[in-house]
Structure formats: C-alpha cells, structure tokens
C-alpha cells in the first residue's frame, strides 16, 4: 500500500508542471522543499520523540548558505551549494545538538527555541555581514553544470529545477526510509518509548539522539537551499521561532506517526495557507483553527485519517 501511494505521489508531482498553471507550480516547489525539511524534522520528532522549536535555524542556514555561496563567493553549482550548506548545518548542529539532547521534552523545546532566536538575532543585527533585515540575494545555480541561460527565472524554476528537486525528494526520501527501518531507527524508537530501559539494553540514547539531530539538520538545510533559490532571497525571518512553529504544524498536520505524514503535511499546509491568504485577511486565524482541530480531534494528522479510511474500506472489502 505504501509503495502504491509513493508511486502515485511521484507520478502526480511529476505531472504538475505539465498540467497546472505556472503560479501553482511555483507553489509546489516550496512544498517540495518543506517536504524534504520535514522528512528530517520528523526523524527527530516522530521517531526520536524530541520536539524542537528551533529547527528553522537549519532551514535558514541552508538558505543563507546558498545566498553567500552564490552571490558573495560566486559558487554556482547546485550540487556544491547543497553539500556545503548541508555540512554547515551539520557543523552548527553539533554544538546545538550536544547541548540540547541532554534534555528532553519541554526543556529541549525551549533550548532549541533559544538557539533559533539567537541565530535570528545574529542575522538581523549584524547588518554589514548578513544584510540585516533585507538578507542576502540567492542567485540562480547551475544544475549538473548546465546553466539554462535561455530560460527566464520562472521557466527555470518550473522546468529543470523542479524536476531536479523532485528527484532530490525521492533520493532523500529513500535514504530516510532506509534510516528509519535500520537498526538505528529501531533504537531511536526504543529510546523514545522508554529511555531508561533502552539505556539498560545498551542503546546509547544520547549519541543516537545527537545523530538524529544532525541528520535532521542536514535535511532542513537542503530544504532551505531550495527555498532560497525559489524566492531569490535569504532573509532573517526564515529563522524566527514562528517559522519553526510552522514546521511542527506541518508535520503534525500530515501526521508524525506515518512516514509519508510530513510530505502530506508540507503540501497540504502550503496550499491551505496560499488559498486562505487569497480569500481572507484573517488567514492566520483559520490556520490556528485547523491546528486546533488536528491536535484535539485528529492527532494522527491527515495520514492518520487516510489510514483509518483505508483500513475501513479494506475491512468492508474483506467482509463482502
């Protein structure tokens, strides 16, 4: 069932540039970026049980990495940008992670929130270094060495760049699938359920949490690079705590207990937000109501609703 869903999703996404208007395609790109970021985030939240309210920090590192590399250092290769920004995020995640994984639950959340806001403050205040509230421009990268000069920005974004990012999503998704189903992943789940018992059984809880933290930072940075290229600008609001809150919102909306939950959450949230923004100026209110409904009534998110519907249908089919 999962495989069928994955294939269906892939085909649908691949067809989007051919079927939808350019505007909607430019919406799907950020959704893909967030889907990648959330795959990593959910490794930490759903599988390891640590709720971070500061992961927008790593998304921002990705975007600013792309900005600094492309516009200040002239490095245009998308592959290099992804790699360097990802590694930069991991490098930042080491001290943050080391300090944070000592704590759990609410303290972990508050500590990560503080780190996120620390970075935001830095980005904002050090105007000469970071461009302050304007941020830094992100220039168009070359994909596999090709620069597609003949295409304008929109055509580039909805054409070769879109398919490249879709491929990235598939590759990183497969990687995450392997991670989650590996012994490492099982250890994480054990540590989440009962840390003390897991420790007795030889699971090095803190180390594994740190590794999960580092992996999640990498994925978030990749998402940030794509976001930065899409917008063309890296600005400090990417690191603000409410942006971290949106990451959590998307994950829970999609369903954190399901592997595909974060992907569903990313797409649903982006479209929900965009449609609401076009319809009412009180879109934040309705987003809040949606979150309330999810938290109170549908804690397993849209994926959970989907799974329930599927199993009910399957039971009905079996009975008849």
């Amino acid at each position: 069932m999962r495989l069928a869903f994955a294939i269906f999703a892939f085909v649908a996404l691949a067809a989007v540039p051919k079927l939808a208007s350019p505007y909607y395609v430019t919406l799907v790109l950020p959704a893909i970026a967030y889907a990648i970021a959330l795959l990593g985030f959910n490794l930490l939240f759903g599988y390891t049980g640590l709720l971070s309210f500061g992961h927008a920090l790593f998304v921002a590192i990705g975007a600013y990495g792309a900005a600094v590399l492309s516009s200040k250092l002239g490095l245009k290769s998308f592959e290099m940008i992804l790699l360097i920004s990802g590694l930069a995020a991991v490098a930042a995640a080491i001290p943050v992670g080391l300090l944070s994984v000592r704590y759990v639950r609410i303290f972990f959340g508050i500590l990560t929130l503080a780190f996120g806001m620390l970075f935001h403050s830095f980005l904002f205040k050090f105007y000469n270094l970071t461009g302050g509230d304007t941020g830094i421009r992100v220039l168009r990268p070359t994909l596999l060495g090709m620069d597609f000069k003949e295409l304008d920005k929109t055509a580039f974004l909805i054409g070769p760049f879109y398919y490249y990012c879709l491929a990235l999503l598939v590759v990183l998704g497969l990687a995450m699938w392997r991670i989650v189903h590996s012994p490492f992943g099982l250890h994480l789940a054990a540590a989440r359920e009962n840390p003390r018992k897991a420790e007795y059984l030889g699971v090095r809880v803190r180390l594994f949490r740190l590794i999960a933290f580092l992996i999640s930072a990498f994925y978030c940075a990749v998402g940030g690079v794509i976001l930065g290229i899409n917008t063309g600008q890296a600005d400090p609001e990417l690191a603000y705590w409410t942006h971290s809150g949106e990451l959590v919102f998307m994950t829970v909306l999609g369903g954190f207990a399901n592997f595909f939950g974060p992907l569903i959450g990313a797409f649903s949230f982006i479209f929900l937000k965009s449609e609401l923004m076009g319809v009412t100026q009180y879109w934040r209110f309705f987003l809040g109501v949606t979150l309330v409904l999810i938290v109170v009534l549908f804690p397993r998110g849209l994926a959970g609703i989907g799974e329930d519907a599927w199993s009910r249908a399957a039971r009905k089919a079996r009975r008849s």
Binding site: I110, Y282, V295
Partner: protein, 293 residues
C-alpha cells in the same frame, strides 16, 4: 552617575512588566505543567483592551488621573477569558506535552487575527496620558511618575502572590497540587477547578502587564510573538516553575537589555539568548528552580 541611574530605572521598569508575564507563565507551568506560548497574546490583549477602556472612560468623562485604576480593572476584566481557554486546553491534558505546546501555538495564530479583527491593523496608543502624573525626582534624576507607579504595582503584586502562595490555604493546596497532582486528588482536592483558577490567574497576570505597559508604548500586532521569547528567557534563567525565579530572571533580563542598549547596542537581544543558553548549560534548572532529572 545620573545617566546610569536613568538606565537602571528603565531596566527595572521593563523587568517589572516582564515579571508579571513570567509569573503568569510560572504559575501555569508549576501547577499544570503547560508552557503557554500564548502568554504574549494575553499580554497584547490586555494592552489593546486597556487602550480601548481608557479611551472610553476618558470619553465618558472620567477624570484623567483615574486612568491607572481603569487600566488595572480592564486588565483584570479581559483576563477572565482564562476559563474558556483552559477548557480548550483541558482536552489535551492527558496527551503528550508536544500537543499541549502545539495547542498554545494554535492559540497564538488565532489570537493574532482576533486582535486584528477587533482593533484593526494599526498600533493603538494612549497619547500623552502617562504624563498625567508628572515626574518625580529620585536622587538627581527625573523619572516619570507613571513608571515608578508601575514598578510599585509590580512589587505589590509580587508580594501579594508570595503571600497568597505561602500563607493562604488555597496557596498551600496549589503548591501541593504542583508537587504531586495524584496525591492532591487522592486527598480530595478538586483538581479541575484548581486548574481553571490557576490558569485564569496566569492569564490575568499577562493581561494586566500588557495594560500597564501600554501608556508608555503602544499596542501592536507584533507584541504576541515578540514577547514570548523574552518571557521564556526570563523563566528559563529564573527556573521553570519558580516564582522567585521569575523575579530574578525578570530583573536579569530587564537590566541586561538596558545595559546592552547603552553600551553595546548590537548585542541587545543576543546577550539575553546567550545568557539563556549559558544558564541552561551550567544550571539547567535555572538559577532558582528545582533540579530536573
């Protein structure tokens, strides 16, 4: 010297306001173990409502010097939405902390637009009303009397809270429930009712602080999200769940910010976050909090 004193008073004023919000946070966390991201929203609500209440009162002929009691009353009044919010939060008490936190985040989102709906998109302010009480000389420095009154009010509330928690029966039961909820329940305490009261008290502390600060600043839609970070810094530095910690944390954050602005403006908020991180590393329970496992 006078310059330094000026800065000191400014820092203490900011600390006074922060303390009230932090006290509300501590109360709710201490008893219900919920971290309320919407504390900033209550603060903003108190500010907006305070502006409207004072404008209405002055328009209805209430003499200007009485604006402070009007502010206090309006702060308390609007804080009575507490029970309604608590009822919503009650639906997720038995669930993981993450969901409680998320629910309060949803409240932040909703409140932003509720405020926008009722009061519009532009900041609301009270003109020159805070100057009504003139200035008072403390040593060689002239300080607006209003600021001193707010500091005094904050101290009174702090002492009152302290007395309430330590000396009254309800306060003792409250502290007991914070320590051990099941035992309290077993001993016949109506925990649900207690939660409602505590949450409402926390809400009122937030709304009153917003109302008190609004004459010197303005009510704006950015308030809810901006304040949360400072309030969290206060409770973390002071220690989650500790009232005295709220006081200590508020003073540290308020003074640090005032000093940073004077001597190294770039650092302003950065300094505070660094202190938060340092405290969390060196003494995770905060300066005056209880150790956590």
């Amino acid at each position: 010297m006078t310059a330094f004193f000026d800065i000191l008073i400014g820092g203490v004023f900011h600390a006074a306001v922060l303390f009230l919000v932090a006290a509300g946070l501590q109360l709710v966390f201490g008893v219900q173990k919920i971290v309320n991201l919407a504390c900033g929203s209550f603060y903003a609500l108190g500010a907006y409502f305070g502006v409207s209440a004072v404008k209405w009162a002055l328009g209805a002929g209430v003499p200007i010097p009485l604006f402070l009691p009007v502010l206090l009353a309006s702060g308390v009044l609007v804080g009575l939405i507490g029970p309604a919010i608590e009822a919503l939060l009650r639906t997720v008490y038995h669930r993981d902390e993450a969901f409680q936190l998320l629910l309060t985040f949803a409240l932040v989102l909703m409140f932003q637009d509720v405020l926008r709906f009722f009061w519009g998109a532009n900041p609301h302010e009270l003109g020159n009303v805070s100057m009504e009480y003139g200035k008072v000389a403390i040593g060689a420095v002239q300080v607006p009397t209003y600021n001193v009154l707010v500091i005094a009010a904050s101290i009174v509330i702090a002492l009152g809270l302290g007395a309430f928690l330590q000396r009254t029966r309800f306060g003792r039961i409250l502290r007991a429930t914070a320590e051990n909820r099941e035992m309290s329940q077993a001993l016949g305490v109506n925990v649900n009712w207690m939660y409602t009261v505590v949450f409402t008290l926390g809400t009122i502390l937030g709304t009153v602080s917003g109302a008190l600060v609004v004459p010197t600043a303005a009510a704006s839609l950015d308030m809810p999200v901006e304040l949360v970070v400072e309030a969290f810094a206060v409770v973390v530095i002071g220690g989650l769940g500790s009232m005295r910690g709220a006081l200590a944390g508020a003073l540290i954050v308020g003074l640090l910010r005032a000093l940073a602005i004077r001597y190294y403006a770039e650092l302003e908020m950065l300094a505070i976050y660094l202190v938060v991180i340092a405290v969390l590393i060196a003494r995770p329970a905060g300066l005056l909090g209880k150790p956590i496992e």
